[in-house]
Symmetry: C2
Subunit: 311 residues, 2 copies
């Protein structure tokens, strides 16, 4: 299948592109900025550029749409940009996809669209009360995509992703913050009690979910995509201390963090045949190893620049 | 109070502007296009023009925000425009309002944000499942407005308006279609059984709701603004036949029309001190009289152009 993957300069999409390649698909990337590494041919442009977009969709069978503002804090700081990149761009992409005869579009949404839990575990029928610009714009994009795909040949699938982690994750994520402070000999700062949990989901599992959702047998609709394993922030800190050494300190809760809530994972298992397979203990260790390698790499570069002739 | 009213070239906002003037407020209008009649000074511009917007908000105490795509069929035909004009523009306006120290913003939302009824009457706590680009974008704008106003000095009030009618309404509305066909001697076309109902709410009542929502005692939040009276499409047709003469025919249901559902009106009564006061029988007759006067006016213009020298 020929698959367009948007957001390939971000965190998740390169993992999706690689999994698709491994599954034998032909992959074309798209992003507003060029990626650091080109594992597939990449178009660099704005999804609101209708001419470029409709040309890019010629002969495309399916789209994995991961472009957009994926950082809850950035979306809060720049809500107009979040509306543009998450809602308007998705609308433009779905419209262009229906016009071009694309068969299937898999959209990266978030478990945060549910907002405060009315009951737990939160399944896909749980009411949606998103309460920050990130999750509000993701839900609006889901609904517009679903609505515009109706009565067209396009099957629209929204994956409500759990908290993703793995190589390449943003430096603002708790796992990277912990790893970096531990390596620098600084205490790890736990916000609140540390007993708040997340269903941390490894990027390789998330990438597999996109592969499963591309299957022509996968029904349109929304799916929670999360590991069934609940991991507390205390456990993340303990893993970092075990790997890097160091100590832990507690600070005040950060505003805007979604409350801990259990996400139901049955629907994806039943209808997509997907479930998370990477245990957190294994995933986090691989992650710490990659961060250590990355940091050794960047220190070497810094050392080499500092020692360059003429400096 | 100095009040900016957006959307003054549309249907509802001129009624709001007039009611505010009558209540003694100073009113400035805003729209992307110049209005047909200037009952207040009007700024013509794009709400995404940050420089123009921030200058317009100097010394403004409150905003009644009615600009945007208000036609469900136009929003479905041009969803990117609906995202831009309903979601992005509202986000920009709320951001600029918080920065400028505006005290209160009253946003024109719609009862259609609820989607299919889970229970009736639908109160403000009813789950939201909007299922067309108009109501999806209105709900996203509500949520972004509410979210961005938090932790600022801006009180954000969203009025979920019932089906509005009155002088100046769009030609695609059922009341105008009926009136025009009856006047032309064509049968009135009722889609479906005609027993589907709406809580038709007169524009003068809606304008009063905006006035009430501007009161500093009115709490932030969402309010259903609708007449308690349920009127069937059959009753609208009967009123048109009684006023203009004519006959009725039944046709297939139009796709995309929201299902009939009763809207609860208690919250606005309790917290805003507002309730609809215009009985449908009186409102519709005034409406038909205005349409007759308007059409006599336009036939005279047509006749005068057709008879102009040199034509």
């Amino acid at each position: 299948m020929r698959v367009l993957v948007t957001g390939v300069s971000g965190f998740l999409a390169p993992h999706v592109a690689r999994a698709l390649l491994e599954a034998g698909h032909t992959v074309v990337g798209w992003d507003a900025r060029p990626p650091a590494t080109f594992i597939v041919p990449v178009l660099v442009g704005d999804l609101l550029d209708q001419v470029m977009l409709s040309r890019a969709l010629t002969d495309i069978d399916a789209i994995c749409h991961l472009a957009g503002v994926g950082d809850v804090h950035l979306a809060a700081a720049e809500p107009i940009r979040a509306v543009r990149d998450n809602v308007m761009a998705t609308t433009a992409l779905v419209q262009a996809a229906t016009a071009a005869g694309v068969k299937r579009l898999v959209f990266a949404s978030t478990w945060e669209v549910y907002g405060p839990p009315a009951y737990q575990p939160m399944d896909e029928a749980h009411p949606t009360q998103p309460n920050n610009p990130y999750s509000i714009t993701k839900l609006a994009a889901e609904r517009l995509g679903e609505n515009l795909a109706q009565q067209s040949g396009l099957t629209f699938v929204a994956l409500r992703l759990g908290t993703a982690y793995g190589p390449g994750m943003r430096s603002s994520t708790v796992i990277r913050r912990f790893a970096e402070r531990a390596r620098q000999g600084q205490p790890l700062l736990i916000q609140g009690t540390g007993r708040q949990f997340r269903q941390f989901t490894h990027v390789s599992d998330i990438a597999q979910a996109f592969c499963h959702a591309l299957d022509s047998a996968a029904p349109a609709g929304v799916y929670n995509i999360a590991s069934a394993e609940r991991v507390t922030i205390e456990q993340v800190a303990a893993a970092a201390v075990q790997y890097f050494g160091g100590t832990v300190q507690h600070t005040a809760m950060r505003a805007g963090e979604p409350p801990a809530a259990t996400i139901a994972v049955q629907r994806a298992r039943a209808l997509l045949g997907w479930q998370a397979t990477v245990p957190f203990a294994r995933g986090i260790e691989a992650c710490f190893a990659a961060l250590r390698a990355e940091q050794i790499g960047s220190s070497e570069i810094t050392a080499s620049i500092a020692g360059a002739p003429g400096e």
